[in-house]
Symmetry: C2
Subunit: 338 residues, 2 copies
């Protein structure tokens, strides 16, 4: 689950579980769990299973499944500004899986771990009905304050670490079998996240799609967003091309629940120079999206006009459509009223 | 998988994966992964999925499934002598799971987390075909050397933290549907593990059964074991009762691949007093089992005589029997030649 239905479930599931006095964040407040250590450093830990994406056929390529089991967790570390320490992976392998499948999964895990500087510390293997990969990544914040989802205020600027919509474009092409899947092998923004500590006021990755990310940031901080950059200028070229081919309004590529693992972050207006330094250190080009506004909702413009999106409703549409991509896109199109 | 077939698979899976220079253990050498931190402390991390046990019907009780997802990971922390920091749990919930099932799973996780002083730091939820729970636990060794599986020498004494065989007795009764399942809610030996640091020369938990544990310790250290205590005196009363009822040789209750989460550990002969202090501090009564011998194999006595067991063969029997408990017990009985 990737939408706000999941949030309600999580809230129910965690009620009554024992919590740690050393934990800095409450549930939902950051992409990774943050634990104050005795020496003052902060340990970041996050667990994320690649389960539904495999079952839905999105990661039918076992290399990609392995790659993503590391990348999704690395992205959570990136969003809190942690330096990567390592990862453990619990693999459930299907009965009678052939050597080629196992080798491709491991190659995906290995190449992703190397690309994210996340050594594989260990793991567990089980035999089950279908392939499932659960990664748990550890990171460290040697000193100072972690990035969290909390802290943005009206008037601040909103940025992304890179163009958006590639995750949705890949998922649409893959699940609709258009035969034109854009290459998809996302690399989490670990260097960017570390460089943004002390610069960004709030940060979250787009693993659930850009609109879900903005909706969550808005709810947690009691604000909304006005996207002043035209949607067409935010989109990854492959996402824009898919929108044109499939004749979809471009903003739909921000709405899908499968993201691209960029970071969305807010910066106070007087930190422009600090942002430039962070961008140089973190190896990214900040993509200005708009600004934080006091009113809730996500206001955006595209070439056809302006609209305010109900992020909460959009986040639940995919699950409400029971995974039927055609029905889901139809429901999104019905919301396309500038 | 719980047997030495799994070890071969793991060796193949990890080949080529990037490793961390800060990791103190190599694969198989300890129950949890050990990472040296900058301040000199050691972070212990372990991931273990409760997948096959649920699929096999062993943990049909969702409370027990939740309990075990914490306990199995706590036990790995115990075996390295770590103090518990916290746990994350990635849950795959079956489509259309009812509220009662979810509540029972969460109650199991929560009560086990409280019993093991392992706060739940966070988690992830997915919807899938069947219930699967993957826990990842973190522990800390503030200073000194962790316990590992390496370090025992011929002539040293072998102990358990408590009676053995309850895990096998539970599994046999449950899977053979004898209707006489012994109560099974194991609590990992966290206090014992911490107290045994600096006292035990090697340590491993019995999560895969006592004979598998001894076989692994023997292989890693190039030794074997002579069990001088009669098997009947090692067994948990419920295991001994089940052996009598089912007319099984008692040592079979040490052979099953479902363990009881005690620790097996070795102690040099001159550390008797240190062991007494550790037992008092760790709240356990050391159960003497026998001694480390230079020759490989596990030699044991029961009321019917003495025999040397081939631990490696026993460890693969369950998988070789394809999970058929009747066939498995038959294959074990065929090895019962004093």
């Amino acid at each position: 689950m990737t939408a706000s239905h999941e949030i309600g479930l999580i809230d129910r599931l965690i009620a009554g579980l024992p919590r740690s006095p050393a934990q800095l964040n409450r549930v939902h407040e950051s992409d990774a769990e943050l634990l104050r250590m005795q020496d003052g450093s902060v340990l970041a830990v996050t667990t994320d299973g690649v389960v539904e994406e495999i079952a839905a056929g999105l990661y039918a390529d076992p290399f990609l499944a392995g790659w993503m089991s590391v990348a999704v967790n690395a992205s959570d570390l990136a969003a809190v500004g942690a330096a990567p320490l390592g990862i453990v992976v619990c693999e459930t392998l299907p009965h009678g899986a052939d050597e080629a499948l196992l080798a491709a999964v491991q190659r995906g895990i290995g190449e992703s771990a190397a690309a994210h500087s996340l050594p594989v510390l260990g793991g567990d293997t089980n035999i089950g009905t279908e392939l499932q990969l659960v990664g748990t990544a550890l990171g460290l914040l040697p000193q100072g304050t972690p990035l969290t989802r909390l802290g943005c205020r009206p008037g601040e600027r909103l940025y992304a670490t890179g163009p958006l919509g590639l995750g949705s474009a890949f998922a649409f092409a893959r699940l609709q079998q258009t035969g034109r899947e854009p290459p998809f092998r996302p690399q989490a923004r670990l260097a960017a996240g570390q460089a943004l500590r002390g610069v960004a006021s709030a940060c979250m990755d787009t693993s659930d799609g850009a609109i879900a990310t903005l909706d969550e940031l808005g709810r947690l901080n009691g604000v909304g967003f006005r996207l002043t950059t035209a949607v067409e200028a935010m989109l990854h070229p492959a996402a824009l091309a898919l929108a044109a081919q499939a004749m979809l309004p471009p903003w739909l590529l921000l709405a899908g629940p499968h993201g691209e693992f960029e970071l969305l972050f807010t910066v106070p207006a007087d930190r422009g120079e600090a942002l430039e330094r962070a961008a140089a250190a973190g190896g990214f080009t900040p993509l200005p999206l708009g600004e934080v506004r006091p009113e809730s909702g996500i206001e955006l413009d595209d070439l056809r006009g302006s609209r305010v999106l109900d992020g909460g409703r959009i986040r639940n549409l995919f699950e409400d459509s029971r995974g039927d991509v055609g029905r889901y896109v139809g429901a999104l199109l019905a919301m396309d009223t500038p």
